[in-house]
């Protein structure tokens, strides 16, 4: 009891209690519940059965891991494509519009006010047989377009489209953070345009690239609508499996095990990246 008293003697700790309780109840407790469920026997709905590893066994024996690989692959491809697409765009925005570029980037977020599903169905109409693109091509040039809709490529397209603002905004911010005098100093010291880019601009804008990549990766690995709408269920991402387990299959423990697995994989990947690139170091010491 005296240990507890001395713990609460510091006013800072007392003041931190409300947010601590809120976080414990709203964040830690559900997480523990999910982890707990993942060790329960299949198709049970309580947390007090005898723990078992059956769900995890099922995932790896039942090739459910394939959907995890699809999710990881698609998310990684999305991040790489977004980095390649957004860097030149962000670079151009910053060099042309200077400090207004970040404001302009916000315009890219306007489509976000429309529901993601509606925007994706828009693309279905665009790509579907006889739709906007294939129809126009056929009428004007008599060209027949191959199947694009309901392929993995279409899913990837949808993900790149949906998550573009989340990469572009931090990236523009990152590039805008590079002081112009750094470029001038490097040029003055004899660096060519390409050398200025490689030695100064790229490393100094890495924080933007890193934050954008982490953000889009975490979002993309949780993507589900793109595969459903543009992929026509041809690919099953892990999120879809989790949803099915919790709803249609009524197998909460399996869904929980999949969710835990996904969390573990994402955390390990993100931590590995953060270890490699110390964000604090790049951000803190400008």
């Amino acid at each position: 009891m005296s240990a507890l008293n001395s713990f609460f003697a510091q006013p800072g700790r007392r003041a931190a209690m409300p947010i601590l309780v809120l976080l414990l109840l709203g964040f830690v407790a559900p997480l523990i519940a999910v982890v707990g469920f993942s060790f329960m026997p299949p198709r049970t709905f309580g947390l007090f059965h005898e723990p078992s590893l059956e769900n995890y066994e099922k995932i790896f024996s039942d090739n459910t891991y394939v959907s995890l690989l699809w999710s990881l692959g698609l998310a990684s491809a999305t991040v790489v494509l977004l980095a390649l697409i957004c860097y030149p765009v962000a670079y151009g925005l910053v060099r042309v519009f200077g400090r207004w570029s970040t404001v302009l980037t916000l315009l890219f977020t306007i489509p976000l006010v429309v529901s993601e599903n509606i925007r994706l169905y828009g693309w279905v109409l665009f790509f579907i047989k006889g739709g906007v693109l294939p129809g126009t091509l056929k009428t004007l040039f008599g060209a027949e377009m191959g199947d694009f809709l309901f392929t993995p490529a279409a899913v990837l397209f949808g993900m790149v489209y949906v998550y573009l603002p989340f990469m572009l905004f931090p990236m523009t911010l990152g590039i805008a953070m590079v002081p112009n005098q750094m470029r001038e100093a490097a040029t003055d010291l004899g660096a060519s345009r390409w050398q200025v880019f490689r030695e100064v601009e790229l490393p100094l804008s890495t924080p933007g690239l890193m934050i954008g990549s982490l953000l889009t990766f975490v979002l993309a690995i949780g993507a589900i609508a793109e595969a459903k709408v543009l992929g026509g269920q041809r690919i099953i991402p892990i999120t879809h499996d989790i949803e099915i387990a919790f709803t249609y299959a009524q197998n909460w423990p399996l869904g929980a095990a999949l969710a835990v697995l996904l969390m573990l994989v994402v955390s390990v990947l993100v931590l590995a990246v953060l270890r490699r690139f110390d964000l604090d170091q790049i951000l803190g010491k400008r």
Binding site: P179, E184, D188
Partner: protein, 357 residues
């Protein structure tokens, strides 16, 4: 070191316009090999625009810049054999002290071992501790960064080194040390230094020659001594600390008259061709008199206030509306009391006639 040796940099009718505004207006200037030349001017006088053109970051609107008789107007900064130390220093925050210094050598594909050797030599020359080689440059103090920036520029081995007010953000004491160090480095390297500052005091300490800029024009070029003792205009004289300036009219040979003070003064026999003229007397040349006849020029006033300036004491004497400043050494203070009637005076040879501009 006076007079220009072999010219290294020549400016011919150089002008830089932004719309209708001439930031740099028709500058003609020759800078000699190995010279420490300083351009002084208040903010907005065009000195930064000038050095940016010299370093190749801006192009002149008209006129020519010649480096060793070769026109370099259109040569970009990365192809000029010159280098600049920026006001912000612009050190690369993602690089160590060593990597910053070696930057120019890395760009030229010098082997890593040779790069490090040169960087360590420069660090020693600039009094940077050897273990700073691997230190993150953002962890260095203001004075250390200053030295890293200078080392980085010296590693480039430029024919001319430009400085854009690099000491302006440094506190007074350190600045005084660095000014002298910079002049020592200038001696050791024998390179041409072109320096920009808004402080004539700073310019005086370091320069072989000083050019004073105002509204885009070079209004006077000369040795520190010339600028100090023979300013040609009121602006230049006022730029170097406190001065007493009296607007005057000609009153026959060797004499001028002040309407405001209702008095005539004897002046040195130099002629100024400006319409309006001013008589300039520095505070250290004014002295307190026992009687009006004790100096060729004298005025009666009231001792209004006194200020301790360290080695000297400054007295404010009011003559009607006009304020005069008199300086005396701390060891020989004036014994008068505030609000006393005092007589101040000076010798004609210690006064300067300048144009009122």
């Amino acid at each position: 070191m006076n007079g220009i040796s072999k010219p290294i940099l020549q400016l011919k009718n150089v002008r830089k316009s932004f719309g209708n505004f001439n930031a740099v207006d028709d500058i003609n200037l020759t800078i000699g090999e190995g010279e420490f030349f300083t351009i002084v001017g208040p903010s907005g006088s065009g000195k930064t625009t000038m050095i940016r053109m010299l370093a190749g970051m801006d192009k002149p609107t008209s006129g020519d810049i010649l480096l060793r008789d070769k026109r370099i107007n259109d040569t970009p900064a990365n192809q000029r054999p010159t280098c600049m130390v920026f006001q912000s220093l612009a050190l690369f925050p993602h690089r160590t002290v060593g990597q910053n210094i070696e930057f120019a050598l890395k760009i030229r594909n010098v082997a890593p071992a040779a790069r490090e050797k040169r960087a360590r030599e420069l660090m020693q020359q600039l009094h940077l501790p050897a273990d700073y080689y691997g230190k993150n440059v953002t962890l260095c103090s203001g004075g250390e960064r200053q030295r890293v920036a200078l080392a980085r520029a010296l590693a480039f081995d430029p024919q001319i080194l430009f400085f854009d007010e690099p000491l302006s953000a440094i506190d007074y004491k350190l600045r005084k040390t660095l000014e002298k160090e910079l002049k020592d480095i200038h001696r050791e390297t024998g390179k041409t230094f072109v320096y920009i500052t808004h402080s004539l005091e700073e310019a005086m300490v370091m320069s072989d020659r000083i050019g004073v800029m105002r509204r885009g024009k070079l209004i006077q070029v000369g040795s520190p001594n010339e600028i100090y003792s023979a300013p040609r205009s009121r602006f230049v004289s006022e730029f170097m600390g406190d001065v007493n300036v009296i607007p005057v009219e000609s009153n026959g040979a060797g004499s001028v008259r002040s309407q405001a003070l209702g008095a005539a003064f004897k002046v040195p026999a130099t002629s100024i061709e400006a319409k309006a003229q001013c008589l300039v007397v520095r505070p250290e040349f004014l002295r307190f008199l026992d009687a009006p006849g004790d100096a060729p020029n004298s005025l009666k006033g009231v001792l209004y206030n006194e200020y301790a300036l360290g080695s000297r004491i400054q007295y404010q004497v009011r003559i009607g509306e006009k304020v005069f400043l008199v300086e005396k050494l701390r060891q020989q203070p004036f014994k008068g009391k505030l609000d006393d009637e005092v007589i101040i005076g000076w010798d004609p040879e210690n006064s300067i006639m300048v144009a009122d501009e």
